[in-house]
Amino acid sequence: MWKAVSYACERTECSGRRRSGWQPLGGYVCEDRRHVAIMNSLFTKLCVCLLMLSAVRLTVLTKQEMQQYRTDRSKYSALPHDSSLHGIDAGGNVITPGVGVDGRLKDGAFLVVFVVHRRDSLRDIEFWNHVSQAASVTRTLPRAQIRYWGVCDSGAACNVLQGRALFTVVGYLDPYQMHIVAQADQRHETLLYGPSTTLKTSVATATDAPREAEQILEGAKEGGA
């Protein structure tokens, strides 16, 4: 009978439990409970299936995105060992640490690259002056063998302090090298480049100048160039 009248049935067939939402206003016509129950059950199953499918798909996508995120992080957060040591000094001149014909730093020197923060520029300059003095006093390496570049975090703003510094104040570097220096600064690290201009090690920036000098010298002594 419900087939013939589609969604309607006679009042008598609806005598069982009714759900108010199914009844049209003032009418005696109600929906076929069996049909509705079948449809409801089908739709419910379909909904649950679709929700499960979407949850599975989203889990897979999120997992892939997470893997990509981890790969990116490990790829981009590691400090590269190669370098591009060219910059602009306080006088506005292009500087390089002095590379010989063999592609190595002259006199087998090491280069320490750190950041001078404009906010604490005087303190930073004093600190690094002490570091360079402390490193030369220990005489593990001749003084000329360690050069220092203090990269200003505000471009040319630190140029006026060059007169106070015992190291080279650098305002600008090429994008590649500047990104490495910025990464190291975020980690509170100082970069130590060997005579072959590759990154020898990165040293945690200490609060104590003699300790920092000691770490730099240790880094310079370890392994080859």
């Binding site: 949850a55 305002g171 500047m178 990104h179 990464q183």
Partner: protein, 170 residues
């Protein structure tokens, strides 16, 4: 009735899980890639290819292009970049081309109105991730936010994305 309740609860739980996964997906996505959210770009400044000081641009936005003479893809997508840079200049943006390393670009690009920087400041170097060429980044100079970026060569589709992103500065 009890079965109905169980199914209802299952559906609610699944909806909650789906919403959570969608949110998680977009949070992770916003943090992947070279220019994830949270990066703040200062207006470009530094020293040009000819080693002349370039002051911080006061333009509304900056179209930053990382390119290199030895990069074949940079030559392939040059027409797309030229169109994008022309539109960017019309929208009041500064267009800046940089090499990753000194010497990677030897001669001027020949595109009129474009600034070619060779040396950058630390805040700019922190924001720029010069791990590949070409890279094209559109930055809102007011907020420092990356509005749009393309890692790799530009094509029709990425060019239209870039143009759409530029339309907010008109």
């Amino acid at each position: 009735m009890k079965r109905y309740r169980i199914v209802e609860s299952l559906m609610v739980a699944l909806i909650v899980i789906n919403v959570f996964l969608i949110c998680l997906f977009f949070v992770i996505r916003s943090r992947t890639g070279l220019y994830s959210s949270g990066i703040h770009f200062p207006a470009p400044s530094g020293y040009s290819l000819g080693n002349e000081a370039v002051k911080e641009s006061r333009a509304l936005c900056s179209l930053i292009r990382l390119s290199s003479d030895g990069c074949p893809y940079c030559k392939v997508d040059r027409p797309f970049f030229i169109k994008l840079s022309q539109r960017a200049m019309r929208a009041g943006c500064a267009v800046v081309i940089l090499p990753p390393k000194m010497g990677d670009i030897k001669a001027s690009s020949g595109i009129p109105g474009v600034t070619e920087l060779q040396f950058v400041t630390l805040p700019f170097g922190r924001a720029l991730n010069p791990v590949m060429t070409p890279e094209t980044v559109l930055v809102d100079n007011k907020t420092g936010e990356v509005v749009w970026d393309r890692e790799g060569a530009l094509d029709e589709s990425s060019q239209s994305d870039g143009l759409r992103a530029l339309s907010r500065f008109h």
